[in-house]
Symmetry: C2
Subunit: 287 residues, 2 copies
DNA sequence: TCCATTAATGCAATTTACGCATTAATGGAT
DNA sequence: ATCCATTAATGCGTAAATTGCATTAATGGA
């Protein structure tokens, strides 16, 4: 059974005239007649009561007219929807990102996506450092922004942004500009730092920074969560080294003093993932 | 687009293997490959991501698999339903009948129909004498049982039953058997009779009966409604001439005395009505 | 009774679908 | 690293289906 046959049937059910219908459907009366016959015999249902003069729907034909009209519309809608999925205009994408950028570049990225593809559903999630690779490879997330270059097989990684590192101090702290910093005073600070994850280039950079400053930091506390770190600094429990992106969180009571060190942000995705939604989002972010 | 193509797609979406699927669908891998390609190009949607080694659904393919499964089941259900309509096993038929037989042959007819065609919906209606023909010809009813032969063009009529006429008297009435009746006493009765409709053979018969008995009835009241007539007789307001069928109404306080006159019941329907439900019901009633 | 209309049908031509055989890509085994 | 078995795609000839044209047969109206 062919959709076209059903379209012929619906047209004929409206017109109730083989010649007129054939004309409208751009076939000959002969073809239409045979298509209807073929439909009837395949269904095992007489659709029209017809003689050489009149054509009218049988009760079963009337029933099918009503039902098929609905079903064909439904089908057309489904196919339209499928086309949008195919073009990456519909669908869901799960993006993981570090807390630090949730107020800096993430809003820009989201705005850009929802502007270009308003029908996309985006799920923003946070993923612990040790789960990042597994979640990506097991399709729990589709895209992840990290501060580490990822070189695992099957994962592609591109640098998308570079953050400055700042030292974050409470408003009443004597550090006011970069010039106030000295090896001696730094040595006296209590530091609140991110957890030093194995192989994390981000914590490496912080480590290298202290090396370059020739300071061995007195680490008061390690936390994976930037918001926790910021709250602790505000309470005067220590100072922190954080990427500038945290400035966008508009947290009062803090001062960011830019340091001459940088940390990169990378976009990571499955190399073999051809999901058109992903392709579209990648194009947008990497532009 | 062909339903068969969608069935091929669904099979392949389950198997994810062209050779195995082709075998199960009883075609060659070549044909299956081309059918899927044709489906993809007609839809404008890539359904499978495939190389010479692996086959997997695209997001759009996954979506269509879920949707099409539902739609195809829906369609199969619709077609099954249509087949039942075609065979006259499903549908609605509106049957009109005189009040008199609602407790005699109507229950038998209903039982017979619902036994043979349990899915049929029957609507029983009452139609005033003057509307009978119009309602039938205008498809307001499909079948009508009358006490008059109908010979209008486009209407077929078949005799299905013959009722005896009885004189109906209250229980305390002196008439006990047919032998108690005499011209003289009949002349003294007050009669409650049906309305003498123009061209109604039924009221004709009652008229002829009185002529044969050489009695001119003292008609106290005319009513079209048998139940009204019966109620009036029970109250002692007169006696009536009614078809035996009323005996089945189990009305207490009445005596039916059979008279040597008969009245026929006819089944009437549109001659050109080929509704299979009607055909089935006709076959049952006329057997 | 005749005629115009119209659905069905025979036939030839065209288009489409199919199976067979082959090709080309790929993942796993040696 | 190389070879091989597996497997989806494809070229080609044949079979099947669909189509249009012309004709037929039925039917309602003049």
């Amino acid at each position: 059974m062919d959709f076209q046959q059903i379209r012929y049937f619906l047209a004929l059910a409206k017109e109730l005239h083989f010649w007129n219908t054939a004309g409208k459907m751009n076939i000959t009366q002969s073809a239409l007649s045979r298509q209807i016959q073929s439909l009837e015999s395949e269904l095992g249902v007489l659709l029209f009561e017809r003689n050489k003069r009149n054509v009218k729907l049988t009760p079963a034909g009337k029933f099918l007219k009503d039902k098929w009209e609905v079903e064909l519309n439904e089908m057309e809608f489904i196919h339209q929807f499928a086309r949008q999925i195919h073009l990456g205009e519909r669908g869901t994408i799960r993006i993981a990102h570090p807390d630090s950028i949730s107020a800096s570049i993430i809003p820009d990225i989201m705005a850009s996506i929802s502007n270009a593809f308003p029908r996309l559903q985006i799920e923003l999630v946070q993923v612990l450092y040790e789960n990042q690779q597994e979640f990506l490879l097991n399709y729990k997330i589709d895209l992840i922004i990290t501060r580490d270059m990822n070189s695992a097989p099957g994962i592609r990684s591109e640098k998308i942004y570079t953050d400055n590192l700042s030292i974050v101090v409470p408003e009443n702290h004597p550090y006011r500009t970069i010039d106030d910093l000295s090896k001696e005073t730094l040595q006296q600070q209590k530091f609140i730092l991110p957890i030093k994850d194995e192989g994390s280039s981000y914590s490496d950079i912080i480590h290298q920074m202290f090396k370059a400053l020739e300071v061995v930091p007195d680490v008061y506390l390690h936390s994976e969560f930037g918001s926790t770190i910021i709250a602790l600094v505000r309470k005067g429990l220590g100072v922190a080294i954080l990427p500038d992106s945290y400035m966008y969180h508009e947290s009062p009571g803090l001062r960011f003093i830019k340091l001459p060190f940088k940390t990169d942000l990378y976009l990571n995705w499955r190399a073999e993932d051809h999901n058109p939604v992903l392709s579209n989002v990648l194009k947008l972010i990497l532009n």
